[in-house]
Assembly symmetry: C2
Amino acid sequence: MDPFLQAAIDEAKQGLSEGGIPIGSVLVIDGEIVGRGHNRRVQKGSAILHAEMDCLENAGRLAARDYQRAVLYSTLSPCDMCSGTALLYGIPRVVIGENRTFQGPEEYVRSRGVALEIVDDSTCVQLMRDFIAARPELWNEDIGV
Amino acid sequence: MDPFLQAAIDEAKQGLSEGGIPIGSVLVIDGEIVGRGHNRRVQKGSAILHAEMDCLENAGRLAARDYQRAVLYSTLSPCDMCSGTALLYGIPRVVIGENRTFQGPEEYVRSRGVALEIVDDSTCVQLMRDFIAARPELWNEDIGV
């Protein structure tokens, strides 16, 4: 297992243990984790703290030259918001745990020059399948449907 | 002057008075402002609190049926992140103060069914022109270049 994807999964599980939505993310630069986070809709009453957003916020204010050699990991295919944030900052590569339970605008993100790697990790899939079955209304709120 | 765009400009000026980046935003539902915000990169050391993000966060957790009849006002053309957030939540209309000093992915956002109205307001333009001339490095950081 890629240790960075594992770290994102650990974040997702941390979120679940807090009563939140089990999606996690880490930002890696030069082989080191510089930010980590998980969805905090429930925990902070937040409309914008998806896992990737929480991760990037926790990474702090970085320069363009930092983002431009970063890899963003997420346990789930990034939504329009989180994909847009990767585009804003010119993050060149995104590693995605799975895109079976939700798929963001992957084709558009690729068309903008971002490399997406879909791992199709069974733990990531199971976390989301169990969560969506248990809390469909919360999940729908999180993805605006 | 549209009172909602004026409210967004007031937010932008508030941000400037705090030493921040002068971009403001309001969210309007059924003719009432339900959220307002301004860029807080400087004030909160934030990588994600662009004006529109701050506004949506301050509006709180809303249901899809609320976003789907909302209008998002911003003094400046929304970047990839903020445009993606409007897409995530299915906000059908965005009123933009100006897009001369910065232009987000307007064509893509329109292709996804969002109505964009460009006001081309001279106050919005001047706020950004003065700010970019005074603090180019901060502005570049905010847009990832």
